[in-house]
Structure formats: C-alpha cells, structure tokens
Symmetry: C2
C-alpha cells in the first residue's frame, strides 16, 4: 500500500522542495501542519499567497517591496549620493540591521557566473547603469557583493564598467571578524586583514 | 524603517512557527518562496490547504487518512488478529516501510505524560478499548511506543489495562542496533540486549 495518503504525500513533496529541507524534515513538518489547529496551518498557506500577491520588485532599486518605489527609495531622509550594490534582498536586510548606513541600495538579484550561464543581462546591471545616468547626484558606489569567487568577479566587472564615469567605487573591508581568533583565521582572510591594516 | 515589508515579515513569522525552523532559516525560506516561479510557491500553499481539507482521522484506528476507514483498516489482506499500538502516524509510516508487519494499527496520538497534563482521556485509549470489545478476533497487541520514560509508562499502563482480557501483549525487542558497536552502546541498551538474549 502507499505509505502516505495522497494529500499527505503531496504536502511532504512540496515541503521537500524548500532549500535545506530533506525528506525526514519534510515529513516532520507535514505531520506538524496536520496536527496543529487548522487555523494555524491555513495562516501559513495564506501568508505564502499574500506575500506572492503583494510583494513586487521596486522599479528603482529592484529590492522586494510592498510599495513602489520602496520605502528606502522614497525616503526623504536617506543620503542619495551613495548607492550600495548587493546580491539579494537578504543583504539589504542585513545591512539595515547594523543601522549605520543611510544611503540607497541596488539589488542585483544574483552575481555573474558564466559556468551557470548567468551573464550581465541576467542580473539587474542594466538597471543600475540606467539609474546612474538618470541620477547625477550619485557620487559613490559601494560594491557589497559577498567575498566569493563570483561575488569578487562581479564587483570587479562593475568597477571596470564604472571606471570612466568618475564615480567613486568602494568595497567593504575584509579582515578578521570581531571576536574572531587570529589563530583560526584562514590565510586569505589574514592576508586581506594585513594588507588592509590601518594606523591607530 | 521596517526591515521587511509587512507581507514578508508575516511570511517569515509563519514559517518560524514550524518546528526546528529558526529565525534565519525562516528568512531564507521566505526569500526562497519569493524568488521561485509563483506557481511553485502557490502549490505549497495549495498542498497545505488540500491536506487539511482531505486528511481526517480513521474512525477505526485513528491514523491519518484520506478515506474512512483507512486503507489499512479496510484492506482484506491484512492480519486482523494483531494490532500494533503506536504513538503517532509517523510511526505507522516507519513500520510500513520495513514491509514485514501485516497486522493492523492503532494510533494513540500521544503518550501519557502527567507532568504535561496528558492523562488517559487525552490520547486515543478509550477508542482502543472499545475497538477490542467490538472485534473479538484480535489476539495480540504489540505495544510499540518509543523507548522513552513516557513511552514505557504508557506501554505498562495499557498492558495492565489489558491483563484481564486474556490478550497477548508484546513489546518490540530493545537491544544493540544493527551495525551498532557494543563499545558505544549505553548501559541501559546493553542491559536490555543481554536480558533479551536468544539462543542461536
């Protein structure tokens, strides 16, 4: 006989498609959703539908937003002379969490990765170039891609593209994380920390 | 400003209520659901709604099922003289997976746990007693509760309840798991393995 009723099997398979959710976890989640009060299970379903209906990309910065332009792009207190370019909306959330950056953002929704067939036209790069042409008040571009091979390559590619524009392009510093231990830092991080040393 | 748009925050909080899903994972899942094709995200929402609508408890064995009585209870090829009592529907799935048991099941949906206020009336125990009175063909009850303190106590409680009925009540063997190492087995498991030793 089938191990699970069809509707349960379908739920397990849908949950198993989420990233980081394996077969056993999908089973546990499915039975959890079947054992909680019906209201709680349905409110998850509703939240998924509502998020997909309401959340769009901001027409200016491509961040996910419920209003267009997004809250950050339409804010009057933000510094419009700096744009921080990031890979995805989660990076915006992380940077906002530090409460130390008051400029604007541009979300690429990916990084250049030729081996995966992701070229400059697959990420929101054209949108960035157009935005810079339309908004002459921008003075600095922070390239805050992740320090991965693809992230570094994308930052370098954008830096070259912007070379002629006269814009200041910067990268956040790499180094030993706060609370980290010199002894356990990998060689590349340590080398970056040394080459980026500053006078105290 | 708010870190996430309201619909995203709501989705993250709903996902974070699932067992084993912390804040960071909920965020990752939410952004995943916003980045995949809309169809894929909605089919998860639909699977949740469909499962809650279609899946009920079997009126005979209390297992989760799409038909009533469930496939196992209504099967003509199963041995109706044995009932295996388990804590929850996942245990039924695990036992079915071994393809070695051909009897019926009874799902308690919990174990006795006085400290959590779970007494005999909070689990499907009355249903088991009634079922045994109505179905005189039952000869053996396998008490397959998990070998936890509560599981053992529940098995003992049911065994005492059934003492007068003349039914054979059994417990699956405890011992060293296949592929396990004597050296690493805990004392209680080892003691159980020795007291349950059999002649070869």
């Amino acid at each position: 006989m089938a191990r699970f009723a069809p509707a349960v099997a379908k739920l397990i398979s849908e949950l198993g498609r989420l990233p980081g959710i394996g077969g056993k976890t999908a089973q546990r989640l499915a039975f959890h959703l079947l054992s909680v009060p019906e209201k709680n299970a349905l409110s998850l379903a509703e939240a998924i539908v509502a998020a997909r209906q309401k959340i769009k990309m901001c027409s200016v910065c491509s961040n996910l937003t419920q209003t267009d332009p997004c809250e950050i792009c339409s804010s009057t207190t933000r510094d419009r002379s700096i744009i921080c370019v990031v890979e995805n909306p989660r990076d915006v959330a992380a940077i906002e969490r530090m409460r130390d950056y008051n400029g604007l953002y541009h979300v690429l929704h990916g990084v250049l990765s030729p081996s995966d067939g992701i070229g400059p036209d697959k990420i929101k790069l054209q949108e960035l170039i157009r935005r810079l042409q339309e908004h002459q008040e921008v003075e600095e571009i922070i390239l805050a891609m992740n320090p991965s091979v693809e992230g570094e390559a994308t930052a370098l590619y954008i830096a070259r593209l912007l070379k002629m524009s006269g814009l200041k392009t910067t990268r956040p510093a790499h180094g030993i994380p706060m609370g980290g231990d010199l002894e356990y830092a990998d060689e590349i991080t340590l080398a970056r920390a040394f080459s980026g040393r500053s006078q105290i």
